[in-house]
Subunit: 600 residues, 2 copies
């Protein structure tokens, strides 16, 4: 009973973000993007959208209902994935953003990621094979030598091989310092790898010739901790002459994930027969730093996963609310009148508008962050690149965690709007709720994002990142004022920034006094208020653009009116929470910090 | 990989609520409870606790993994339920609170419900058969004639038959005014029933001789709306002479619920062969009012479901956090030191203390509400009964929705604490998260609870309910002050009450001006702030009792210290949200109310 007309994501909103809010075409003035134009963006977006809706979305339910199978030591992907994954590759999404000389299209990440979002919304598991592969190949592109690039990267970008990130071990989940997989150098240039990894998404399947695991391991004699971890390309099958031979990467089993059920999560054993070869990527002991350099991109992708999963559920509940008759308005006392669609009940509209504010706020933040990423990589002057990079770096923990946390609430509201039906697997919202939950856990939990934000990002470069953010926020406030947007919203945002800046100084001071635990005690609350603020900035920006469009008589009034209402909602319900959360952080309340184990 | 030592619910906490906070023994001074004492309570509680842990909890996973089957028009319950459900009946929980003359034990609901909570925490589905049966039988006890009592009620209280509530229809979920099932009188005294019901929990199974459906239907010619709905006892098998013959109640299918998977949720068709007989319970057209009179009890039970489901997950994540080593303290720079259990990370303790505050706050509210229910039914003087009833009535929407909404967040935190493992069905937290979600939907959605609270309860009896609450809260504040509890908490609570009282007056005024939509616009936000307040009152009360115990040198310091920390947490993080939410309600922000369909 899925809504087969579900658009997954609003095209109108994506176009609004790209062309009206961000003016993404201006990127085409940069040499890297010079072959592009709004026309090429549109062609690309349209082909992906069509595929996502017509081909990929119908595969979602069958793949969720029948997870990948583990048979005789190998993973068998769902039959329907065998059909659609190669067609996804044909869309060109794998290497869209990469340089022409590695087979790419030099497309802005801003465009590519928003296109990918449709694939994520259509079938999160299926899309996972692709962006994991892109991420793995990109690591090699950035740090690998020519042989590794030729053997692995090129084949990943072309879709011949897929890739994984093999970081996590049973005893080292969030703690990468504790990676214990061993790498022993050989005289032949490669290393022998031995160890176990867990939760390796897409770690095996039967849809491509090979899987290349970007594997963190410790070279014998390496220093303890994160400074002794190296990065290796470890294929399941290794090239020997013209043949591919088994490389002793063994699938020991699959964990039963509650969502993303088409993308198996595996336990891998390396070197059970002592013959697992890995090729060092970059220099020894620098694996974690390479991972960190790719981490923003990976985390922003997780943000897109979250926003997309919330978006498709929002669209589904919107359609349901428009078509499900139930009850009557409060004033209607005559029970013989027809029941009304539930969208006519204010509390249902509350839930829908909350979903809209979360979904479209998340996409706005993600698109903006992606735009900074494009500028950070391809802006012509170094100062511009550096400033954009600081913004990407600062916004990434929010872009990763906001869609995961608020998105989960949004997915939960989609279930609630469906009432009793929402509690059944006959309807899809519960499946998307399951899918969403992973996003607060993988690629750094929300707790880790909060420590990254407060412990690193807001204090980065002597405050230069926060200064850049302040300028961006101020520009949005100024624009909103000129456009005649409710003055109170700009004031709220400016006051919030001042409060956050002052709070950050106080916390940084505590850290510099040598009390990191005290500084970080409320890091999650800090992340929450920072997220509300950042998304508030995005809503003000959208409101400004919408007000300008209305003033200019552009038509499409319903769309812009909805944007202004969602902004109003955010400023009325969420932004006031910033001051309350800031007071909590400032209070240094020690309730949980001072809680002893045996007091629970 | 479940924690087999999971205590489900803390015995120490339950005893604290019963004997230290509420002094439940004082009920034994009332005639109805005169045969009871702390000893009989302890015997009862201990037998239920033992059963819940040793027998029932081990059935949870198998029942969740293999839902009830629909075969040849009948439902087959999981084999293990055939073994344990009769043993649950033997515990005496079905009629524990009912009068001796109907086979009961005249146990206070306060004690009985807390005992039942262990069964719910152990296996929510299995326990569902019991409290649904009790609820159905209680309806007949209150409103049925002698024949119906003898034929159905007695057999339900004894466990020979089970019972259901058959309210919901495909076209009438939350809108009971739209019930269309027909009842046609016959000359033989019974009615012929024809129609369809949906989401009937436990509507068929093979564990008892019969299922009695307490069915809402409309007698031909009845007025439209809720004033034309009558209540019938409609058994699956009807008595004819000494035999039971099929009563034309047909199981048309099962919906696939995402949780509570041992308790099937069915579509029932009545009278496909024109031979479904129902017996009127009470007077014609009064079915809804009878349901309303039983609704508090049913909703408080749903609150217990929610608190119990959050409790067992809290205990599981607490054990996991104590035993899972991962990472090191922020200060520890030496990666060769051993990893520490994750409970040593402040953010993990934050999540655990939040769970504790929610779970124990919910149980405290539920126990307090149950105590008022006992007094409302059995207090000797009428004024006392009336006052207690007003409190039950006022607190019920919170006691129902707080455990569902905050409890869902608590269940989500249990998943989060388990990290990647929490996202797998190898661990149980995800199953409890699924179970919990139903509690915001059934027995009146959270939106409906909010309208009940604001539209009926807080304005009831010319403010007498709120006045009674004020007195209770004031007593807690006074007691906290005497006990030396942080003075600021009492002040926060008093100020919050004044704010809520004033806000309520304002909203009631808007309603009386004939603008119910405007009055109710922010009913869910009102419910949220009211819930935080009411649970804050419960935490202040618990803090007062704990401070008294410490001052009296009662020992058990760790337990009382934990209580005071949880109270501190609630006053630091949640209570300040009341003012922010009150300002939102007062602002009458119209964002979603004014949102048009085509603006989404």
């Amino acid at each position: 009973m899925a809504d087969t007309t579900n658009p997954l994501i609003s095209d109108r909103d994506v176009d609004f973000l790209l062309y009206e809010v961000l003016g993404v075409e201006r990127l085409c003035a940069l040499p890297y993007f010079a072959d592009h134009s709004r026309e090429t963006f549109t062609l690309f977006l349209d082909s992906v959208r069509r595929f996502a809706r017509d081909v990929l979305f119908p595969t979602y339910r069958p793949v969720d209902e029948e997870p990948a199978k583990f048979v005789d030591g190998r993973i068998k992907a769902h039959p329907v994935l065998h059909k659609v994954v190669p067609r996804m590759v044909d869309l060109g999404v794998l290497s869209a953003t990469r340089p022409v000389d590695v087979g790419g299209q030099q497309m802005p990440m801003t465009v590519s990621a928003l296109a990918n979002a449709y694939l994520m919304a259509a079938n999160l598991s299926a899309s996972g094979y692709l962006w994991l592969t892109t991420g793995a190949a990109h690591l090699i592109e950035a740090f690998g030598d020519d042989w590794v690039k030729q053997e692995f990267m090129a084949r990943m970008y072309s879709g011949e091989y897929t890739g994984t990130m093999a970081l996590t071990e049973p005893g080292a989940g969030s703690s990468l310092a504790d990676v214990r997989t061993k790498a022993t150098p050989t005289a032949d240039g490669h290393y022998l790898i031995e160890g176990a990894k867990i939760f390796i998404s897409g770690g095996d399947h039967d849809m491509a010739d090979n899987v290349v695991h970007m594997t963190l391991a410790r070279i014998e004699g390496a220093p303890a901790g994160i400074k002794g971890v190296s990065l290796f390309a470890v294929p399941r099958m290794r090239p020997e002459g013209d043949a591919l031979v088994f490389n002793d990467v063994n699938t020991a089993g699959a964990v039963h994930k509650i969502g993303w059920r088409g993308l198996p999560s595996l336990v891998l054993n390396y070197g059970e027969s002592g013959d697992c070869r890995g090729w060092l990527v970059g220099e020894p002991h620098k694996g974690i730093s390479y991972m960190f350099q790719m981490m923003n991109e990976a985390r922003i992708m997780v943000g897109f996963n979250g926003a997309s999963t919330a978006a498709v559920a929002y669209q589904e509940s919107l359609n349901y609310a428009r078509t499900r008759p139930q009850g009557r308005p409060l004033r209607a006392k005559d029970p013989t009148t027809a029941q009304v669609p539930i969208i006519e009940h204010a509390d249902v509209r509350r839930m829908l508008l909350r979903q809209k504010a979360i979904v479209e706020g998340a996409f706005s933040l993600l698109a903006t962050t992606s735009m900074y990423a494009d500028l950070a990589a391809h802006e012509e002057d170094e100062a511009g690149r550096k400033r954009a990079f600081l913004l990407v770096d600062l916004l990434t923990p929010v872009a990763k965690s906001f869609p995961a946390e608020w998105g989960f609430e949004s997915n939960t509201l989609a279930v609630q709007i469906h009432g009793g039906y929402g509690y059944t697997s006959e309807y899809l919202p519960e499946a998307w709720m399951r899918d969403q939950k992973l996003n607060s856990i993988h690629e750094g939990t929300t707790g880790i994002q909060s420590m990254d934000l407060l412990g690193r990002k807001v204090v980065a470069a002597q405050g230069a990142a926060m200064q850049a953010l302040k300028e961006e926020v101020q520009a949005a406030c100024d624009r909103a004022r000129s456009a005649g947007v409710d003055e109170a919203w700009s004031k709220q945002l400016e006051a919030a920034f001042d409060g956050i800046a002052s709070l950050t100084m106080t916390l940084a001071g505590i850290g510099m006094q040598g009390e990191p635990e005290r500084m970080m005690r409320h890091s999650v609350h800090y992340l929450q208020l920072f997220s509300i603020f950042v998304v508030g900035w995005q809503w003000l920006l959208q409101a400004a653009v919408s007000a300008e469009a209305r003033a200019a008589g552009k038509g499409d009034d319903a769309f812009y009116a909805g944007k202004l209402k969602a902004a109003q909602y955010w400023f009325a319900t969420e932004v006031p929470r910033i001051a309350q959360l800031a007071a909590l952080v400032r209070s240094e309340d020690d309730s949980y910090d001072s809680m002893q184990d045996d007091w629970f």
